[in-house]
């Protein structure tokens, strides 16, 4: 429980921390842009929370990238298609 993904739900690796860094945004700034609590950004970055499709689209709009370039189906630590982690 605790609002994190359930134990049997696999985490979805993502590049939010990397993209946030590239955009020069703090977690608080990004959280204001997408309308969530700033700690939710930490949960997302660590793969402890899988976002709703609506939140994924908001992140996609902020970073100017399609969802599939932010979230990748796979296991934690698994490489993205371009070789980055």
């Amino acid at each position: 429980m605790t609002g994190r993904r359930s134990a049997d739900e696999p985490p979805i690796p993502n590049r939010i921390a990397e993209l946030r860094g590239e955009a020069g945004l703090s977690r608080i700034e990004l959280s204001r842009l997408v309308g969530v609590n700033w700690q939710t950004i930490g949960y997302l970055e660590r793969g402890e929370y899988n976002p709703s499709l609506a939140l994924a689209f908001r992140l996609s709009d902020i970073f100017g990238l399609p969802i599939e370039e932010i979230f990748v189906r796979g296991r934690p630590g698994e490489a993205f298609p371009d070789g980055s982690r």
């Binding site: 429980m1 134990a7 946030r20 703090s26 309308g35 700033w38």
Partner: protein, 196 residues
């Protein structure tokens, strides 16, 4: 088989609540992590003085200890101190700044709303189990399988009060127990600095 059990009513209530609470959120919760408990944060007005004084799981322990003091201490100043400690502990649980349990859904984001729902599910499960255990004990006593002799509490009103306040604070206690350590703002700054 006859079993004789002679315990104070207050202790019986507290033991049932504590056992059910622990079995539901501690043993039954796979994600619970003793070392990763959220520090308690005081109401915002006090934050600059002392933002964190207790970890969430300690808060649960303090609440049960204060409830035990209120129920079991003998009369006089000790009993008054126990009641005051119980009131203070209940205030801390409810005033716990990060407690999602008492916040309206519109003030929360999607992750927090999902967390709030699961907190209430656990709290209702705890209350239902406590009522179930009490009902089974009473049925066994009625069937004369269990010779249950509940010693009268020092004050019947206190036992009822503790039980009613537990119903009120149970969701906040569940959240205090399960909530992981929150992100530190400093950590966020470090990530940002490293990326620049």
């Amino acid at each position: 088989m006859d079993m004789t059990l002679e315990i104070p009513t207050g202790a019986a209530i507290l033991v049932v609540l504590a056992v059910v609470f622990l079995s539901t959120v501690a043993i039954g919760e796979r994600l619970s992590d003793r070392l990763n408990s959220a520090p308690l944060e005081l109401p915002a007005a006090w934050e600059r003085y002392r933002p964190r004084i207790l970890a969430g799981k300690w808060l649960v322990g303090v609440w049960f200890a204060a409830a035990a003091a209120a129920l079991l201490l003998p009369g006089g100043p000790a009993r008054l101190a126990g009641l005051l400690a119980f009131a203070a502990a209940s205030f801390l649980v409810i005033g716990y700044r990060r407690s999602l349990a008492q916040q309206p859904a519109e003030a929360l984001d999607e992750r927090e709303r999902s967390l709030q729902r699961s907190i209430y599910v656990s709290a209702y499960r705890i209350l239902a189990s406590a009522i179930g255990i009490a009902a089974v004990a009473l049925m066994l006593a009625e069937a004369r399988v269990l010779d249950l002799r509940l010693l009268p509490p020092a004050d019947d009103g206190t036992a009822v009060l503790v039980a009613l306040i537990f119903v009120w604070v149970a969701p906040s206690l569940v959240h205090a127990w399960l909530d992981p350590r929150p992100d530190e703002r400093e950590e966020d700054d470090l990530v940002l600095a490293a990326s620049r």
